[in-house]
């Protein structure tokens, strides 16, 4: 499992746990977090497996967590906190509701060659993104997190290690496994497409 030590903190006093949110919303640091990291957080939620509408909801939850835990977030660690929280939220969503959807999506990927264009055709961006989502779903969540940060967000392995608070060696091994899984899923998809198009590439 991913290390998310940055997310939970010590038991906070109850007083004010429901109040103060309005005041927090005006906190310059929180405002900056929303301004600077909203897109990143939303994209992360999408890439961690949530559909767009669920990501719209979940991103609010992530920032509400950040608002509630603002004092616990070390300066400079905002993005790491948001990603780890997104990971928690996405995992929670998926555990609770998405098992059937995952199966359905896997099935959809298997069926994709029937209607998909040939592998050598230029995929339109929307279709390509759908394929990316399906391929990402083939990855285990901890591998997917590393893959997303490296391949899509283009963080270095050192930055990923700092973000996820795991050793650099673990990042490297997860990245290697993630890429193997991703490329294997890609090959399977391409092979099916070739078969679905009379063996043409």
């Amino acid at each position: 499992m991913l290390s998310v030590e940055g997310v939970p903190g010590p038991l906070a006093p109850l007083e004010g746990s429901t109040g103060g949110l309005r005041e927090q919303a005006d906190d310059p640091r929180l405002v900056a977090m929303v301004r600077d990291h909203l897109d990143f957080t939303w994209r992360s939620l999408r890439r961690l497996g949530l559909p767009a509408d669920a990501a719209d909801d979940a991103v609010q939850r992530v920032f509400l967590v950040a608002s509630a835990r603002l004092a616990d977030i070390d300066p400079g660690r905002e993005r790491a906190f948001l990603f780890n929280t997104a990971l928690r939220v996405a995992s929670s969503e998926k555990r609770s509701f998405a098992r059937r959807r995952e199966v359905r999506n896997r099935d959809a990927l298997e069926r994709a060659p029937d209607t998909a264009p040939a592998a050598d055709e230029q995929l339109d961006r929307h279709r390509a993104r759908q394929v990316l989502e399906e391929l990402l779903r083939q990855l285990e969540i901890d591998l997917r997190a590393v893959f997303v940060l490296y391949e899509l967000e283009e963080l270095s392995t050192a930055e990923i290690a700092a973000t996820l608070e795991i050793p650099p060696g673990t990042v490297s091994s997860r990245l290697r496994r993630a890429r193997e899984q991703f490329q294997a899923a890609t090959r399977r998809l391409q092979a099916r497409r070739r078969r679905g198009n009379g063996g043409m590439r």
Binding site: P8, R22, R47
Partner: protein, 245 residues
């Protein structure tokens, strides 16, 4: 040791195309506004799992109305997104009928009734537990009977926050504190439901079965009852191989 070349720099045009497509994915323009409103307690208001569920469930059941009353009271008192980290915020779909919790003169009951009848059924994509519908405009009311409920909401809200951040131990500790401070609390069903969810996350099927049975025995018509039944069924499926050594 240097990082390996990224896949977008590789030789496979299919992979390059797929990876490049990720950069097109961005939130719609309205998402930022919703986040800001959620943080400021404006349009997106929720008080956590159960009250939001109650709202979404509509007015058909009396339990739902009761829960909506709780929600309305809480909104009237707080005027903020008291869900905190555990909040379940407004659905982004703009098609719902919003209901205004308007002023101090609006009684919780009347507000709740109108809200419940105006709110459509929840979407299939509902998040972890519940989603509150948008409330248009700030709320200024403070009902005299609401302070107790707000006091009770505080630990429950904090427990939801802990749950959302993945700290189940803390969530349980906060729930224990809630139960200790409010042994006959108005939000006891919500606390019990959250407790069941915590054990669900822990994959403790035996405890989930216990808690969901207790919930359904006490609150069979509660808006969260269907969810509890589903959890119980899922736990029953896993109980044999996970919880009973």
């Amino acid at each position: 040791m240097s990082d390996p070349p990224r896949l977008r720099e590789g030789s496979d045009p299919f992979v390059r195309e797929v990876i490049a497509s990720a950069h097109d994915d961005a939130p719609a323009a309205h998402v930022a506004g919703r986040v800001r409103r959620a943080l400021s307690g404006g349009a997106a208001v929720s008080v956590g799992a159960t009250t939001g569920t109650a709202l979404a469930a509509g007015a058909a059941k009396s339990a739902a109305v009761v829960a909506v009353v709780k929600w309305a009271v809480a909104v009237a008192v707080a005027g903020v997104a008291v869900g905190g980290a555990g909040a379940y915020v407004a659905r982004p779909t703009p098609t719902t009928t919003t209901t205004r919790a308007t002023s101090a003169s609006a009684t919780p009951t009347s507000t709740a009734t109108s809200t419940a009848t105006a709110t459509p059924a929840p979407s299939a994509t509902a998040t972890a537990t519940a989603i509150a519908r948008p409330v248009a405009g700030p709320v200024t009311a403070v009902g005299p009977s609401a302070s107790g409920l707000m006091s009770e909401l505080a630990p429950l809200d904090a427990a939801h926050a802990a749950f959302d951040s993945g700290d189940m131990d803390r969530a349980l500790a906060l729930l224990n504190r809630h139960d200790l401070e409010f042994p006959r609390g108005q939000l006891a069903p919500e606390a019990l439901a959250l407790r069941a969810r915590i054990y669900e996350q822990r994959r403790d099927s035996r405890r989930v079965l216990e808690l969901t049975a207790r919930f359904l025995g006490r609150y069979p018509d509660h808006p969260q009852a269907p969810r509890m039944r589903a959890m119980a069924q899922a736990a029953a499926g896993g109980a044999g191989d996970r919880s009973n050594p």
